[in-house]
Subunit: 421 residues, 2 copies
């Protein structure tokens, strides 16, 4: 590894974070009139006026601000904006009658969808814990623990283990199929690992540690592919693999066909998730003070799969998804997968010390800075063609916000600092 | 079936309940000085003075009083004594700091053992729900729900399903082995089914119904023997069968050898548990308004195993335990097993309508009334030889109280009434 090159890449990331990404959000996200955050911006960074505030976007913004503040950025300004978002979350999104956060409000704070969705609640735990760690304001962890308790009461499947994911307002479990009440996903369980890690970091409580260990066990022994260690997206309640369908309440991009089912619905893995899972697991082990040596073999398998199949050595960047055994189905480029693979590959360099991960990192780094970043505006394009032409061009949306982009910079800089010493 | 004989047996049971059992307790159980119930009595019914009040004995007394009141006995007096016990439970046994009930107090209400044991908490849920159903006093269900919520938060194993059973005061999970922190038992999960049934009957809440369905699923598909449908006593966390060991905190009779492990530790089933499981399941199905037809095949297997192996056709009554595939290891007679088999066999007569279950019922009924009842005193001997000579002679103790005896009479009378119409 060329240290000069490393330092250059680190500076490029720092410059992007400090002078582009954070300013993009600081100057537009605060909704002074109605509280909370504005989250819908077009290619030029103009507010599109879309009348919604989603639980995911509000909590992810809170995480972004809190974690960047904790990492030393923003001179206190980020903590102030974070507090503004917590006020909105607790005063407007929290359901005082049944507990938990509503799924979707309008800008003024009226409820548009009152369902209780665990995906969103995992980000509530994550961001509110991070907020308390960053600022010392105890309201964050108080509500993070309330959500944790509700999740244990209503969410856990005491027959097969794991968590149910889709509930009505009163925490009645949703019906089967596209309502999602009979499914379990990689996505939710991975984000619960992320959430419980930060909750445990914040509280040090045994029950938070125990549930973190249990969800790691689920991910390792139920959710990732037994042979390839790649993530399997959807399961039935007994952890048999379910065809990957679109839920009525979606939380991400709709990349499904008309029928609401993926092509290759039962043999599909996503490189961004795999790398994200690996580095989040490594971070969890760190917080748990567990021995990473026991997991290096696993990390090697996951990162080798990522660089052997997910990285595009012709046009740069990371593909969307492919079969577990190797190969690619979808060669477009999603912004968040680039973000997660950046962090993961730097983890691989540090943990496994092989030059090939560094080469792959540089590939993705270049693709991000040359193609994905919307120059002069400062945020990332959400979806690009294989060659790097923007397909979707909005900068902010209920499901596309600053969490992946800012976190990728904060975490990558931290890792490159470590490598440069 | 000879109806005249049935009516005679019913009258014998009614006479025992109304003129012997209930008076035995009504006249001695109320601790006017310290609150709660006195629970330690010798063969003559004299207070032994043992200085303890166990969570199990206090909650079981509460269940006994509440359920007998609800069934129409006692002219209101039982409800009054029940209220007296609830006061003690909520004011003295409840842990205001960490939630949940202490395991053991002395008579005055000082804490002797502050651990949180799920076996005892299952009886807290059961008795407090029954108390509210019987009296309308909402304090019962309020605390039953608090215990349910704590159990879901701290007790559920979100990896393998089911519940952990042994905790420290602050709900930290106990260590492995004889501390019990790595084991799961038939006993606790069966009593949780019983508890959730009455909780759901009381609240009608979806989450209580759902957890009841899940624990039934666990009992049917993890806990009873896949072939013989007999109960397997102990498991490791992943539901592999564990050798039956004695825990540091015991909740029943110590019938273990010096080594703290049962003979035949991994091939052992107990007839009283099997019959109790079957009739409690049938009752749960009734409360759930589920179709019993789907379970008749299962009930037939369980009751056939009970009468073919557990009933002593030579000396009368029910043996202690034997191998799953049939046969007997221990031919002594425990009081509670007689009690549960009485109810179960009447269920079998009603559900399956076969004369052989009635003949077996009459056998156990005669053994109970001729040998187990301590004549002139009114309660049952806890343990007898195969021929019916008392081995242990106390009438009350932290682990031997009125719950099995009174419930057996209340439930048997109810079933015989149904059969006599």
């Amino acid at each position: 590894m060329d240290i000069k090159e490393l330092v250059q890449l680190k500076q490029e990331a720092e410059n992007h974070l400090i002078n582009e990404l954070l300013p993009f959000w600081i100057m537009r996200m605060t909704d002074e009139k109605n509280g909370g955050y504005l989250t819908h911006f077009d290619e030029k960074g103009n507010d599109t006026g879309e009348d919604e505030k989603s639980l995911i976007a509000q909590t992810r913004c809170l995480y972004t601000l809190s974690s960047a503040h904790r990492a030393g950025y923003g001179n206190g300004e980020l903590a102030e904006i974070a507090r503004h978002g917590v006020d909105f979350l607790l005063n407007k999104m929290w359901d005082n009658q049944h507990g938990g956060f509503f799924w979707m409000l309008d800008r003024k704070g009226n409820v548009k969808n009152n369902q209780k969705i665990i995906y969103g609640h995992s980000f509530a735990i994550y961001s509110l814990s991070e907020y308390t760690l960053a600022t010392g304001d105890k309201r964050g962890v108080e509500y993070a623990e309330k959500v944790f308790d509700l999740l244990q009461k209503y969410g856990a499947d005491t027959m097969y283990g794991g968590y149910w994911e889709m509930f009505q307002r009163d925490w009645t479990l949703c019906g089967p199929g596209s309502q999602g009440g009979d499914r379990k996903t990689l996505d939710v369980h991975m984000h619960l690992m992320e959430a419980f890690t930060t909750l445990y970091e914040c509280t040090g409580k045994e029950v938070h540690r125990r549930k973190l260990l249990e969800v790691i066990d689920l991910l390792l022994n139920r959710i990732i592919h037994p042979e390839y260690k790649t993530g399997v997206p959807q399961f039935y309640k007994d952890w048999s693999v379910a065809p990957q369908i679109k839920f009525d309440i979606i939380w991400g991009w709709d990349r499904f066909s008309e029928e609401g089912q993926k092509g290759n619905a039962t043999d599909n893995t996503c490189y961004g998730h795999n790398a994200e899972f690996a580095w989040l697991l490594n971070h969890a082990l760190e917080i748990l003070q567990d021995d990473v040596e026991n997991y290096k073999g696993l990390f090697r398998i996951i990162y080798d799969h990522t660089i052997d199949n997910g990285v595009d050595y012709e046009f740069g960047g990371v593909f969307v998804e492919g079969p577990h055994s190797g190969g690619v189905y979808d060669r477009e480029k999603e912004f968040w997968q680039q973000a997660e693979v950046l962090i993961g590959l730097l983890d691989a360099v540090i943990l496994l010390g092989n030059e090939k991960y560094w080469e792959a990192y540089k590939n993705v780094h270049r693709f991000v800075f040359d193609k994905v970043v919307n120059k002069g505006v400062g945020e990332w394009y959400p979806l690009l063609s294989r060659r790097g032409e923007p397909i979707w061009t909005h900068m902010g949306h209920s499901w596309k916000i600053n969490y992946h982009t800012v976190r990728a910079m904060v975490q990558s800089i931290k890792r490159m600092e470590k490598l440069s010493k």
